[in-house]
């Protein structure tokens, strides 16, 4: 048994919120450069180079790369031999978000009630927290700030087994096609398959955490990811929707077993920044 004081969590979450918004991952920068070389549209090439310039500026000037610094999505892998002391664990995470969004000059984008009041909570809380209990005595914390523009283009569909892999591929490609220039392409496409209605969506979100230079560890699924990416990049949407070959930088699939009657398919669209940062305690 290892004791961890939740006060430690506060400053780690604070830093992850700021770092995820200021510093874009090397995998993203490398992918954009790779697509820049292949891109045929002059306008698209210019957009991609502006994005790279922006990411460099954000890091140098210590400013969020995008004004939409998102809802703070926090993934926790909690070792089962950890004993948390010193207060409420989830409140510590929210305090970290509160401090990170204030001290990092990040935008507060959360309203208290989705429909009727819509009053800003002014500190970007509450965070969305998902916890998995895992073996060991460590805690892994990932903060993935998620913007509204790309999230709004996401969808869950309860498909049937008869639709097969072709049906799934068509649905994902169609979802990207209907999103057009709205979610800040070039996008990353997270796909969650199986589980249940609610688990498919969470799988799609978790799929977005995988580095862009990695494919699915199972060959059969890596092939499906490749096929979807090829089809998506034939849509012609291009960076920002101005037309071009670079509509998506990557496709990432996660799946789980599911009910004999079901085939849940979730598509979580991510903008080009694909922000996330992790720390292990």
């Amino acid at each position: 048994m290892r004791e961890i004081n939740v006060k430690e969590i506060i400053h780690i979450v604070r830093k992850l919120c700021i770092d995820a918004n200021y510093y874009i991952g090397e995998d993203v920068l490398n992918k954009i450069k790779e697509f820049y070389e292949k891109e045929e549209s002059p306008t698209a090439k210019e957009v991609l180079s502006i994005l790279l310039e922006n990411y460099e500026l954000a890091a140098n000037e210590k400013m969020p790369s995008c004004q939409d610094t998102g809802v703070a999505v926090v993934f926790i892998e909690l070792g089962q031999d950890v004993h948390l002391v010193g207060g409420d664990f989830y409140e510590a995470i929210n305090e970290g978000v509160r401090q990170g969004y204030k001290d990092g000059y990040l935008r507060k984008s959360i309203v208290n009630d989705p429909i009727i009041d819509r009053v800003n909570t002014k500190d970007n809380t509450p965070a969305l927290i998902y916890t998995d209990i895992v073996p060991g005595e460590k805690i892994r914390i990932t903060v993935a700030p998620k913007g509204g523009g790309s999230e709004n283009m996401s969808e869950v569909k309860m498909m049937k087994a008869a639709d097969g892999i072709e049906g799934v591929v068509d649905f994902v490609v169609d979802r990207v096609s209907r999103s057009g220039g709205n979610p800040c392409p070039p996008i990353v496409v997270g796909v969650g398959l199986g589980g249940n209605f609610e688990q498919s969506a969470l799988l799609a979100k978790k799929a977005l955490l995988r580095p862009l230079n990695e494919s699915h560890h199972e060959e059969k699924w890596a092939k499906v990811e490749k096929k979807i990416l090829e089809k998506v990049n034939k849509l012609g949407i291009g960076p920002q929707g101005f037309g071009g070959r670079t509509t998506a930088l990557g496709v990432s699939i996660m799946y789980k077993p599911c009910h004999i009657a079901s085939m849940p398919v979730a598509v979580n669209i991510q903008c080009h920044a694909a922000r996330h940062k992790s720390a292990v305690i």
């Binding site: 310039e53 995008c66 000059y105 990040l106 935008r107 220039g181 709205n182 012609g236």
Partner: protein, 186 residues
């Protein structure tokens, strides 16, 4: 061929008649910010026949909710938000003189028709390039709806604010034309 055009606000009919989809525009002068919540209030004022918090004739509204200004800077990161959410409000504002909108992503047919009728343009800023855009903003002050926080209406002084013509007054749409040019049928 797309060209680079420098314009100063407010826009005139002659200014916007020069713009075609794909052209790069560098805007200088005063522009106003507004997104979902502010648009709702503006259109309520228009419907009630009341004055708006700023003179909208020839003006440009930038769809943005900026990040807070860090010390020593006039504004924080300030890239465009997705425009379709303002589609239900945009025609009413163009009918009372709005000449330009800046945002990201395609507009619906009603907005495109209203642009044609009112000789107004829609300009796209690069979504996610929020620090690049912020560099062209020299001053920012809240002029209305302070209670909305990031969604308040701000008056911005800009110099060479970079954008691309997405819809011109001739009914053209970069989002449709761009895809047509690069789509590969499978």
């Amino acid at each position: 061929m797309p060209q680079t055009i420098r314009l100063t606000t407010p826009f005139t009919d002659e200014d916007v008649s020069k713009l075609h989809i794909g052209d790069k525009v560098l805007i200088s002068g005063t522009i106003y910010t507004g997104r979902d919540a502010a648009h709702k209030r503006l259109v309520e004022l228009v419907k009630a026949g009341k004055d708006l918090p700023f003179d909208i004739k020839g003006q440009i509204i930038y769809y943005v909710g900026p990040a807070p200004a860090p010390p020593g800077k006039p504004i924080g990161s300030a890239g465009p938000t997705t425009s379709y959410r303002m589609d239900p409000y945009a025609p009413a504002l163009m009918d009372v003189g709005l000449k330009g909108m800046i945002g990201k992503g395609p507009r619906n047919q009603e907005v495109i028709d209203s642009m044609k009728k009112n000789k107004a343009v829609y300009l796209a800023a690069i979504g996610g390039a929020a620090v690049v855009v912020a560099k062209s903003i020299k001053e920012a002050k809240v002029i209305a709806y302070d209670d909305l926080g990031t969604e308040a209406i701000r008056e911005l002084k800009v110099e060479d604010f970079p954008c691309i013509v997405a819809n011109d007054i001739y009914g053209n749409d970069i989002y449709k034309e761009g895809i047509k040019e690069y789509k590969i049928e499978t």
